[in-house]
């Protein structure tokens, strides 16, 4: 059933919201040991594998510039070598390294500086800002490129701000493989309106292109039982924040402490409370529908006891809501019924813009799954890849 999008602004629908039924999808797969492209046919039934690219590199994300349909950026490092960004302007046929990858400013003499361990997140800028890209790193930093990813500059308003540095904490305060700045969002209606998340450190918003920022954590819960101050961003761990292309006033968030929705300037509402109690609402990825701001998909994981980070009870399933989080439905047809202990990382689940929407997720065990019908039925389309870190559905020109 199709629903009308509910834009509260009355502005023209962003281009990203239009269905692209005739275009073939290419999946951009980033893994712990390299990157792969999978070129689909128009029906999304046959897939041609292209790769590995950067075999042996830890690739956090592979992203397409939707403004030209051919420029790809890959955030990469190896176990021994420092981080870099590779760039292709011919759809991945050839790659060239960024001339100046994301790097923190050199600390003054006698002071302790920070060094980027890896670039974790890549976001192309607004469609009207050709060549602009944003990057989030670990340790947490925000960077911008104005030349299509060739050179990168730090956002001093975040990276050098002592309040932000306090909220970020140290390397030991972050996730097991390093604290991450992620979910960099550019409002499709307004390039100056930006949002990002910090794991840990909360969710932050700018209305002036990143010159100044404000914290948006009202309504978000913190880990129970420790008397943590909810008003302190330090104690908030958003795992994945997404904006609705059809209604950019609406954000959804998969957090360490549940699933949330935020409308306009309002507080976050924990819509994950409506998930089945046995499954809970802990997880990492979250996908929004390109044309329906009430439709969302999540992939719950086991966040009990020591946080096994596996599918709950070894039974993987996607959950969806079609009414903004009031109710949720389990979507597991085609997925293993038992003894499947993998999960899905925050960047490893995505959707395309076709009608019906195609959904894709890559697992920690190196399998790639897809659904051509918005999650009703799932098929495994690749196995035996390295641990999958990120999956993007791109439309190459």
């Amino acid at each position: 059933m199709k629903r009308k999008s509910t834009s509260t602004t009355g502005k023209k629908k962003p281009a990203a919201a239009r269905a692209t039924s005739a275009r073939a999808v290419t999946l951009l797969i980033a893994t712990r040991k390299g990157a792969w492209l999978m070129h689909g046919d128009a029906a999304r039934k046959k897939w041609r594998v292209d790769g590995p690219h950067f075999l042996g590199h830890v690739v956090s994300q592979l992203a397409l510039d939707p403004r030209d349909g051919r420029t790809l950026l890959a955030a990469a490092k190896t176990g021994h070598l420092g981080p870099t960004v590779f760039r292709s302007t011919d759809r991945g046929r050839s790659w060239k390294e960024a001339r100046r990858p994301p790097a923190f400013a050199k600390a003054p003499e006698g002071e302790q500086g920070r060094a980027v361990d890896h670039t974790f997140w890549l976001t192309p800028g607004h469609r009207d800002e050709t060549g602009v890209w944003y990057a989030g790193t670990s340790p947490q930093g925000l960077f911008r490129s104005d030349d299509g990813g060739v050179t990168w500059d730090p956002f001093s308003s975040i990276n050098d701000d002592m309040q932000y540095r306090k909220w970020m904490g140290t390397v030991q305060d972050g996730t097991p493989d390093g604290p991450k700045l992620h979910s960099i969002i550019v409002d499709p209606r307004d390039s100056a309106h930006m949002v990002f998340g910090m794991s840990g450190g909360g969710v932050h918003e700018s209305k002036d292109g990143g010159k100044s920022w404000r914290v948006i954590i009202d309504g978000m819960e913190v880990v129970e039982g420790f008397n943590f101050d909810r008003a302190d961003p330090t104690f908030h761990d958003p795992h994945c924040v997404r904006i609705c292309p059809s209604n950019p006033d609406r954000l959804y968030q998969q957090n360490h402490c549940g699933i949330y929705r935020r409308d306009g300037a309002g507080a976050w509402v924990r819509i994950g409370n409506n998930m089945p109690k046995k499954v809970g609402d802990i997880g990492f990825p979250l996908v929004v529908h390109p044309r329906d701001d009430n439709a969302v998909w999540v992939f719950p994981m086991d966040g009990t006891t020591v946080w096994p980070r596996t599918s709950p009870d070894g039974k993987p399933a996607v959950y969806t809501t079609r009414n903004g989080g009031k109710t949720w439905q389990r979507l597991d047809a085609g997925l293993p019924a038992s003894q499947a202990w993998w999960t899905v990382k925050r960047q490893a689940m995505t959707g395309d813009t076709q009608d019906p929407v195609g959904l894709y997720f890559g697992t920690t065990s190196g399998e790639l799954w897809m659904s051509r019908d918005e999650g009703r039925k799932w098929n495994c389309i690749a196995q035996h890849l390295p641990e999958i870190y990120a999956v993007e559905a791109a439309l190459l020109d």
Binding site: T78, G79, H80, L81, G82, T84, R99, P101, A103, K106
Partner: protein
């Protein structure tokens, strides 16, 4: 002076041994980067620290200071530390 390049960095140099000059280790690495763009950042971070899993040896002795003086007959070996699994 002679610089031995580990396999992981030969995508930059396309060979295992190059000739590069520099009065100090830092100057030599700058010259190396001028010739093979991007190679320095893979082994030295933005705070001018040798990366955690990289080791540099001059004439068989490990060096950690980019100000280390060098002369034309020295030999620099860049090594991936025996770490990881």
């Amino acid at each position: 002076m002679k610089v031995l390049i580990p396999g992981a960095l030969r995508s930059y140099t396309e060979r295992g041994e190059v000739e590069v000059s520099g009065a100090t280790l830092g100057a030599l690495l700058a010259e190396l980067d001028a010739r093979y763009s991007g190679i320095r950042f893979r082994i030295i971070d933005e705070q001018d620290q040798i990366r955690r899993h990289i080791r540099l040896f001059v004439n068989g002795e490990q060096v950690r200071d980019l100000a280390q003086p060098l002369n034309a007959k020295d030999e620099l070996v860049i090594v991936q530390a025996l770490s990881g699994g």
